[in-house]
Structure formats: structure tokens, C-alpha cells
């Protein structure tokens, strides 16, 4: 089955489930994706009425992690009388992981959430496509068979799908959301996820100088706009560490040191919590691809603490937990 067909099937089932949920008053709103107004995009949408469910779409440009709309308790999702609304949410694997992780961190109540699980077949790496097309205006993008077809004035190019999806999607083992009680769509069971992390290991085999060069070059254009933070479903602090001013642990400018500090501390904060949705890279206005750092985070907690975030609602994230037997090979020892 081609990807396009698959997507249409998923789209239909999303609409059917959403219609039923709204009809039966099981939920008050449905959060999903709708057609974008510019190529390579979709727009998140909140649907309140049964008749609008046909606005829901599913394709390979649904890069925003919808769990974000639940984390900061949107005013639109709270009714002055009823309190928190019951929400149905179109959930691909990483959205499902984010929801579970948020529930572990006591930020959402899964009782109020209906997970419309869908199997995701990968999100197109739009930054890469934009880059390869260069200074030509993309007017239309579609996925047919296994190719991404990009059309514009006087040109048409096609890219192999499996090559041009997000790096994280290529590695993704959790295509549909892990099963929890409130699943209404297609949810899977994941005990533990095997991953060799060859990409991370390859990077780590470099010398410190090479790594330093690479990371610096990668992050050098960061404008400290924090779009990555805002798109991240797991970033929901009232006052982010970058905004704290007592004491000011690091500056707010785009000096190299400060940029590195920001990304390093953000990585520290995401360790064991990051759900590898890639939203941060997709939204970066200057196109910084953070997937390598994301992969590193996954690899660290998996290999050290056998933990994969957002799978098991009963398992504490590694930073909340500890074992006497934890590895400590990095500790300085007498010879």
C-alpha cells in the first residue's frame, strides 16, 4: 500500500472516531490537524462541532506535537463552569509518548483525554526539502507512492520518502501511541524498544575537537528565540531557566557560550523526558536540526537506565529515580 493510500485510510478513521466521540459527548473538543495554507504545512485545529470533523486531515506534514496544546492548560480548553474539558486528541506515536510523560509528571489527567491513536509513517523533513529546492518557490507538495513530489513554477522534483523524512522518524520504533486506558484508536504495546544508536555512536567516535567544531557550527546560528522550547510538549515550566534572573546563571545574548549553555542545559532538562517528536527541529526558524542531541538523550537513558520515555505510565523517569548499582565508570579513581 502506498503512503498516500495509507494516509487516506488513517484520515478516514480519524474523522470517524472524532465524529463518534463528539456525537456521544465523550469529549468536548477534538484536537487534530487541518490542511495548511502554505506548502509543507498543516495547522493544528481544535474542533468543537461534529460537522467540522471533515476538516481533520492526516498527512506527512503533521509535525507539531499536539500534546503541546494540553501541557500549558490552554484557556480555550477550560470551561469556566465545567472545569477542564474532555479532549480527544489525534495521536501519533510521539504525541502519545508526550501525553504519557506529561501524565507521569502530573501535568495532565489522562482521564480527561481520549487518545485517537494512529500509526504514523514518518514526517517529512521540510527544512531539508526547502534547502534542496533552494531559491525557488514551492507551490505544491504531495506524497504519492513512495515519493515526495514538490512542484513549483516551472519545476517539479521528487524525493524518495524514506530518505526525506525526519532523522528521528527514520529511527522511530513507536509509530503508534503506547496503549493506555483512554486509547480509542490504534494503540500499540511496547515493552522495551531496541535501538542500537549507531548514529550517536558514530558521532561519539569523533575527537573532542571534531565534536566541538560540529556542535558549534550546528548551533552557531541560534537566535535564542526559544521556538524549540515553545514547540516542545515537555517544556512547560512557569519560568524557564533562561528567563530566571536570580541568579542569572547565564546570559541571554547570542554569544557562543550562552547558546551552548542554553542547549546543554535544555538537553539536561530533557534527558529521560524527551519523546523524540522532532518538533523542536521542525519549528526552528533558522533550521537548526537538533535531532542528534535528541538521539543522544534517548541513548543515554536507554543504555544507562534502560528507560524509554513515554511508554510505561507506571515507570519513573530516570532523573526521578536511582539505583545503588548505577554505572559510575566516569568517576575518577585511584590508579
Amino acid at each position: 500500500m502506498g503512503i498516500e493510500e495509507e494516509n487516506q485510510k488513517i484520515e478516514k478513521s480519524i474523522r470517524d472516531i472524532a465524529r463518534d466521540l463528539l456525537k456521544n459527548k465523550e469529549v468536548d473538543v477534538i484536537i487534530g490537524y487541518t490542511e495548511g495554507t502554505v506548502p509543507l504545512s498543516t495547522s493544528p485545529i481544535i474542533i468543537r462541532d461534529e460537522k467540522d470533523v471533515d476538516k481533520l486531515v492526516w498527512n506527512n506534514f503533521c509535525y507539531i506535537n499536539l500534546a503541546k496544546y494540553l501541557a500549558p492548560r490552554m484557556p480555550q480548553l477550560v470551561d469556566p463552569e465545567k472545569g477542564e474539558l474532555k479532549v480527544g486528541i489525534v495521536t501519533k506515536g510521539c504525541v502519545g509518548r508526550a501525553l504519557i510523560q506529561l501524565a507521569i509528571e502530573k501535568q495532565i489527567n489522562l482521564d480527561n483525554v481520549k487518545i485517537i491513536g494512529i500509526p504514523c509513517n514518518g514526517i517529512v523533513n521540510r527544512r531539508r526539502i526547502e534547502k534542496e529546492i533552494g531559491e525557488k518557490e514551492i507551490l505544491e507538495v504531495s506524497v504519492s507512492e513512495d515519493n515526495i513530489i514538490v512542484k513549483g513554477k516551472n519545476f517539479e522534483e521528487s524525493f524518495p520518502f524514506s530518505e526525506y523524512i525526519n532523522e528521528l522518524c527514520k529511527q522511530c520504533k513507536i509509530k503508534s501511541p503506547p496503549k493506555v486506558d483512554s486509547c480509542v484508536g490504534e494503540c500499540g504495546e511496547y515493552e522495551s524498544v531496541f535501538d542500537e544508536f549507531n548514529d550517536v555512536k558514530e558521532f561519539e567516535s569523533k575527537t573532542p575537537d571534531e565534536k566541538w567544531e560540529y556542535i558549534n557550527d550546528l548551533l552557531s546560528t541560534c537566535t535564542r528565540c526559544y521556538a524549540c522550547r515553545e514547540a516542545c510538549p515537555m517544556c512547560y515550566c512557569n519560568l524557564c531557566f533562561v528567563d530566571q534572573n536570580k541568579p542569572i546563571w547565564f546570559g541571554k545574548t547570542t554569544d557562543q557560550t550562552e547558546i551552548l549553555m542554553f542547549h546543554l542545559i535544555r538537553a539536561m532538562h530533557m534527558a529521560g523526558r524527551c519523546v523524540a517528536c522532532g518538533a523542536c527541529s521542525s519549528v526552528c526558524p533558522v533550521g537548526i536540526d537538533l535531532n542528534l542531541i535528541t538521539r543522544k538523550l534517548e541513548q543515554m537513558v536507554k543504555e544507562r537506565y534502560n528507560f524509554t520515555s513515554g511508554i510505561d505510565i507506571d515507570k519513573f523517569p530516570p532523573m526521578m529515580d536511582f539505583e545503588m548499582e548505577d554505572e559510575q565508570e566516569f568517576m575518577l579513581e585511584e590508579d
Binding site: P75, T223, D255, V286
Partner: protein
Amino acid sequence: MEQKILLKKDIGKLYNELSKEFKFYAPINEKGYITFRKIENPDNIVLDYLNSKIPPKDVLFPEKDILFEYRYEGKEVIIEEPKNLDEKKIIFGIRPCDAYSFELFANFFSFHGNCKDEIYLTKKENTVLIGIGCNSPRQTCFCTSVGGHPFKKENVDIFLVDLGNKYLVESISERGEAIVKSLSWLGKANDEDKQKAEELSKKAEEMITTQIDPDKIDKILDENFQHPIWSEISESCISCGTCAYLCPTCTCFDVIDENDAYHNRGRRIRIWDTCQSCLYTMETSGHNPRGSKIERCRNRIMHKFSYYPKNYDLTGCVGCGRCVLYCPANNDLRYILKEIEQIES
């Protein structure tokens, strides 16, 4: 004024001559997108581009702008003003919409001459803008609705039109005239060239399909501060601030101090801020009049389409379409404005 011809192969020559006197900024391709950088090698200049992703505002209004530095000498505090403000700059290959944005900037940074920001104004004063006509506006562009045009020449010193293998060069200001004169080797333009430029201008104008009515919007906004539309508009917004960071007219900044305790020195810096940030307008008391993204999304629209016209008689948007194109949540400004237009007054 007299129109000249610059052959594309002569860009390097132009750079070599002008960079003696000016710091030469031009669009280059950096990591897959176009941005304005100081040029070291003229071969890097990309003039055949749609529009830069990062607007050239950061040449004069950088993300990190040092306002002053101080240090202690003994008990005395010595304040050092920023140096090289009067450094001569050229911004080469700027699109008309971005050039127009500098005019909006001038309003903000001088506020009718009552409150002048010398740092910006001095820098602007010493900068020559060499614009280039926009042969193929994107489908997201709507400059013609907000006082612009793909071939608007008024805001630059020298205006170029891409004629294929050469540029039509037209000096607009006196300063531009002087520069063009100094480049004695420029060729002469013939009528055919001029006519072709005219055609390109018309063609470009036709390509812009989005039409909005800023005056009507201004009126509607006045009466609908509490309209439920703000909640709808902000619903899908993730408050990332991409719209503001990529906007050529956004001027909001935050002022911070950096201290180096050991060396007894420090500096005051201005950094970009965005009205989409949850800390924007946060008060020391902990109260924030724009506490939720409903208010913050409204502020962005109101600021550009209501407050700016009231303060300066101009729309605070140049219609470059960057926020439309790059919004991660595809919260399309064109559609937002259309919806506002439809509000019944």
C-alpha cells in the same frame, strides 16, 4: 536621474570598489537559507533569491546590541559608549519590502523626533541601501496592500532591477547618485532596458493576489478588542515567536545587564524580544496584563494594524509574508486579517 547598467559578472568589481569605504552587507546562502552577512568574498553574494529568511534588520538592529559598557577604575565608574556607530555600511540587494521596513523603524526609534535612539539612528544614517526589485513575489506576499510594491524605490539609495544577465541601476537619493557617479565604469541603460524593467514591475504586481484593506481592519480592530475572534486566532498558536523574530518590522527589545564581577566591569545590552513570550509585559509584582496567549496574539495584530497607524499613520507591516510562510502552526496572518475584515461592525 540617469539609469545605468551593471553586468552580473561585474558584481565582484562593484564589491571591490565599494568595500574600500563601506562595510558591505549582502544576501548569502548560509546553511540553506538566505541571510544578510558582511561579505568577505563577493562570489558568495546571492542576488537571485526570493527573499531572505532572516530580514536584514539585524544589520542595524542586531540580536545583541551593546548600549554601553562600564568599568570601575578605582572608585570611579567609567562608561564607554559603543564604538564604530558611524561606520559606513552598505546593505546590498535588499528587497523593497525590507527597505520599507527601515522607514517604519525610523518612526519607532525617533518617535516623531521626541525620543531619539541615537545608537540605531546613527547607524542608519551611515548606511546606504542598495535595493533590488522583486521579480517574483511569493504567493504569501501582500506588500501592495500595506503601502509597498515589489518595485518600490523610495526607501533605497540605489535601486537595481534584474534584467537577466545585467542589472538596471537607478540612483534614488543624492547619496546614491554620488556612489553611482563614482562607479564610472557602469554602462549606460537604453530604452529597451527601461521598458523591460517597467514590464517586470507590472508583472510582479500582478503576481500578488492577496489583497487586504488595512484601513478597514484598523477601524474594526478599534471596536473589537474583546471579540471572541482573539481566542480563535490564538488557539493553534504555540507562542514560539518565530513570527516576531523573522518580522522585518518587529522592534521589541529587552534590555539586560551583564556583569563581570571579577573584572569589575559590565555592559548593558539590548536583545530581541517578542510579544509572544510569556514574560513580555510581565510586571515585577508578578502580574501580567498579557497573561495568556490570547492577549499576546491580539497584541501582535493590534500593534501592527491599529497602534502603528495611530502613532505614525503607517501600517506596521510590510507584507513580506515571512510570518505566513514560517509559522510552525501555520497560523496564517492573511487568513487572520481576512477573518477580521469579516467582523460585522
